[in-house]
Subunit: 149 residues, 2 copies
């Protein structure tokens, strides 16, 4: 068996393991966010993610649509709701009046601080159940994935 065949089996196995673990872990985290965001703050998980992206600097409808992989009108509608709820606000770019910049209001930031803080602590508690080796392997491999995203 040569190196090519060995590494090929390695990759196939990695893909199998991916499907066993990756989706359920993501679902578990989404469920926790739903618990906090919906039950305590009455915003949907999708709205949470939109706020999260805006906070990280994806502050236009087009960028949000691209990063969330849904249509611009859909984002526009969600943004509208978040504006009405006083969590974000729009500002027209003077340089190019087609661009509308989105930013979190003080309320929006406070809400995100609360949800992110809660979720983060919950995740830290979860991750803390793993060994140092396991954490390091996770961090290392996640970093490596940035190359192929």
């Amino acid at each position: 068996m040569n190196a090519k065949v060995r590494s090929s089996g390695l990759v196939k196995h990695a893909v199998d393991v991916f499907w066993e673990t990756y989706p359920p872990l993501w679902r578990m985290i989404q469920a926790h966010i739903r618990e906090v965001a919906v039950k305590q703050f009455n915003i949907s998980v999708d709205q949470f993610h939109i706020l999260r992206h805006i906070r990280r600097g994806r502050n236009s409808v087009s960028e949000l649509a691209e990063v969330r992989d849904i249509s611009r009108p859909a984002i526009s509608q969600s943004v509208d709701l978040l504006v009405i709820r006083g969590l974000i606000f729009r500002t027209i770019d003077i340089k190019d009046r087609r661009h509308i910049k989105l930013d979190l209001t003080a309320d929006g930031n406070a809400l995100m601080d609360a949800i992110s803080g809660d979720t983060r602590q919950w995740m830290v508690d979860k991750f803390a159940q793993l060994s140092v080796d396991e954490i390091q392997a996770f961090t290392f491999s996640m970093d490596s994935f940035k190359k192929i995203i």
Copy 2:
């Protein structure tokens, strides 16, 4: 700095890295599935996941609702569509006539073979861009996550 503090920083960093990589990677894979499933076979990504779970043995409405974290009526409706499309079929359990087992038809299996095969190959190609160390770290860490799911 003692071990506790070091490992705490380690965990916090892992959570940060998680948010940088995990959601975009998942979105990228979902986008690929959408490309194949929707464009070539005209089923939604959610329908693909339902078929995937049925194929893996989650063959009741309740199990699917639990694993997908949505209501049973929602699953029931999706299942109905998949039955109409001839991709799955229902069988009543003789032992307990409340239970209705779901299974893929020959068409359903063929469709899943096509989509899974395509997606799997695409993922293998993606993963193959990583080094052996990186793949092994990923597999190791994903395996370790099974403990906390």
